[in-house]
Symmetry: C2
Subunit: 306 residues, 2 copies
C-alpha cells in the first residue's frame, strides 16, 4: 500500500480515543433529542431502534471535526451533526426496504422492516428525515447566527435531495441492470454517499464561522474521502467479514452491481483509495495542527474493517 503524505502519528493524537469520545457525544446528544421528542408510540420506538443501532457515526464525527478545524466549538454543531445522522439513518431504512435492496441485516441487527414491518419502516424513514429539519430549525444559541442556520438547512437539504443523495440512489438502482463505466460509477457515489459527507463537513465549517477558503478546502477534502469511503465499502463487500460489517457481504457480485473492484480489480481499487486520501490530506495543509482529527479520519476511512 502507498504511504500517506503525512500522518498524525507524531502529534500525540489517538484516533481510537477520539472516535470513541465523539461517538459517545453523538449518542448522548441523540438520546437527549429522543428524550425531548419521542413518545411511547410504535413509530418513536422504530425511530429510536434505527437511530441508536451501533452505527459508525461517521457523518456527525466529521461534522464536529470540521468545526474543530475551522477553529471554534459551537453548541449548534452537535445539533446539526445529529440531524445529519438522522438523514443518513432514514436513507438506510429506505434503501433496505424489500422494494429497494431488500436487506435483512443492518448494523448487526434486523433491518427496520424486519424488526417492525414494511409500512412502519417507510414511515420511520419519513419521520427521521422530517425530524432532522425540525432539529435543524431549533433557534440557534446565538441569535446572530440565524442566517448561517438557514444556510445550513439549505446545504443539507440540497445534499440529501433529488440532486444529491436521492439521485445517487436512483442511479445506483439503474446501475444494477446496466453495467456502469468508471466515470458513471464515480458520479453515482459522489451523489449517493459523497453529497451528505460533504454537507457534514461544510456544516461544521459554516456553523463555526469558517471563511470561504476554509469551506472550499474542506469541500475538496470531503469529496475525496466520500469517494474513498465508497471504494472501501465495495472492497469490504468483496472480502469483508459479515459479522464485523454488521450486514451481508458478497451481495454486490451476486446482484451484478458495478463496483470498483469489479471495474478496476482489487489492487488498483486499493491504490485508488490511497490516492483519494492523499488528495484529501493535501487539502488540509492550510489548517496545520487544527486538522489533525480530519487527517486521522481520512486514514480511518480506508483502514476500517466495517
Amino acid at each position: 500500500m502507498m504511504k500517506f503524505q503525512n500522518t498524525h502519528s507524531d502529534s500525540g493524537f489517538d484516533l481510537t480515543d477520539y472516535l470513541n469520545s465523539q461517538r459517545q457525544i453523538t449518542s448522548q446528544a441523540l438520546k437527549k433529542i429522543i428524550k425531548t421528542h419521542f413518545s411511547d408510540s410504535r413509530l418513536s420506538s422504530a425511530m429510536q431502534y434505527s437511530l441508536m443501532a451501533s452505527g459508525k457515526r461517521l457523518r456527525p464525527v466529521l461534522c464536529m471535526a470540521a468545526a474543530e478545524t475551522a477553529g471554534k466549538n459551537n453548541d449548534d454543531v452537535i445539533n446539526a451533526a445529529c440531524a445529519i445522522e438522522m438523514i443518513h439513518t432514514y436513507s438506510l431504512i429506505h434503501d433496505d426496504l424489500p422494494a429497494m435492496d431488500d436487506d435483512r441485516l443492518r448494523r448487526g441487527k434486523p433491518t427496520c422492516h424486519i424488526q417492525y414491518d414494511e409500512p412502519t419502516a417507510i414511515l420511520t424513514g419519513d419521520a427521521l428525515l422530517t425530524l432532522a429539519f425540525d432539529v435543524l430549525s431549533d433557534p440557534p444559541s446565538l441569535p446572530e447566527n440565524i442566517a448561517i442556520q438557514l444556510q445550513v438547512i439549505k446545504t443539507i437539504a440540497s445534499a440529501a435531495g433529488h440532486r444529491g443523495m436521492i439521485e445517487g440512489q436512483m442511479r445506483d438502482i439503474e446501475a444494477e441492470t446496466i453495467t456502469a463505466p468508471l466515470d458513471k460509477l464515480k458520479q453515482i457515489h459522489r451523489l449517493k454517499t459523497g453529497a451528505l459527507i460533504e454537507a457534514s463537513v461544510t456544516t461544521g465549517a459554516l456553523l463555526t464561522g469558517g471563511s470561504q477558503e476554509t469551506v472550499n478546502q474542506l469541500k475538496i477534502y470531503a469529496e475525496n474521502i466520500g469517494l474513498a469511503f465508497q471504494v472501501v465499502d465495495d472492497i469490504l463487500n468483496v472480502e469483508g467479514d459479515a459479522a464485523k460489517m454488521g450486514k451481508a457481504t458478497g451481495t454486490d457480485a451476486s446482484r451484478n452491481k458495478s463496483t470498483y473492484p469489479g471495474l478496476l480489480g482489487m489492487e488498483e481499487s486499493r491504490q485508488f483509495t490511497t490516492e483519494l486520501v492523499n488528495n484529501a490530506l493535501h487539502a488540509l495543509d492550510i489548517f496545520g495542527n487544527k486538522s489533525v482529527p480530519l487527517s486521522a479520519l481520512a486514514e480511518y476511512i480506508i483502514r476500517r474493517e466495517r
Copy 2:
C-alpha cells in the same frame, strides 16, 4: 343541512373564481420551482408527475388565504405554500404504496408506483419531502424576516413529523385492524390531516407578521376545517363518484376501516361537518371582511364533491 352562521354571499366574493385563480398561482409557482430545480432525470420526471397532477391545492390556497386574513401579502408565502404542497404530495405517494394503502389511482391518474415503479415512488416521496425544506430555506425576501422563516420551518416540520402527520398515518394503519372509537378517530385525523392543514394556515399568518391572537384564532379555524375535511372525505368515500374523486370509492368499508359514517351514520356525520364549519367561521369573527376567502373555503370544504 343546518344553516351556516354567516356566509360570503353578499360580499361579492366568487369562490369559484378565487379557487381557480389561487390554484393557478400555485401551479405557476410550482412550475417555476420545477424549472429551477429539476433535471431530465427519471426522478425529476416522477416528482413533476405527482406534483403537477390536478390536486385541489387546498393547503397552498389556505396558506395564501390566511396571509390575506392576517392583512398583508408576502412573496415568501407562495414559496412556503408550494413547500407544503410538496409535503402533502409526498405523503400521498407513500400512502399509496403497495405496503401501505396499495392504491392504483390518485387525482385521476395512475399512482406514482404504477406509473413508474415502487423504488422510484419511495425515492420520489423522499425527494419531494426534502425539496420542501430546500425551498423553505431560500433566503427570505426581507432579511429581517429570517427568524420568522426559521419558525415556519419548525412549524411545518413538527406538523409533518412523528408527532403530527406521520403519527396520524401510523395510527390510521393500526385502526384498520382494531375498530377505533370516535375520540380515537378524531385524534387520528387531527394528526393525519389536521396537523398539516393547521400548519398551512399558521404559516400564512406567521409569514405576514400576524399577531399571536391572529395565529391562535386561525389555529381554531384550521383545527375545525381540518376535521371537517376528513369527515367529508369519509362521506365521499361512501357515496362519492370515483370519476369525480379521481380515486377509488367504497374502499373504507371493504377494508373495515373506522369512519365517521360507520360510527355516527351519514346524517349525523353531515351535521357534525356543519357544526365544525360553524366553529371555524366563528373563529374568524375578529377579522371582519379580511377573512372572506377563509370563510368561503370552510364552506367549500364540506360542499366539495371530490
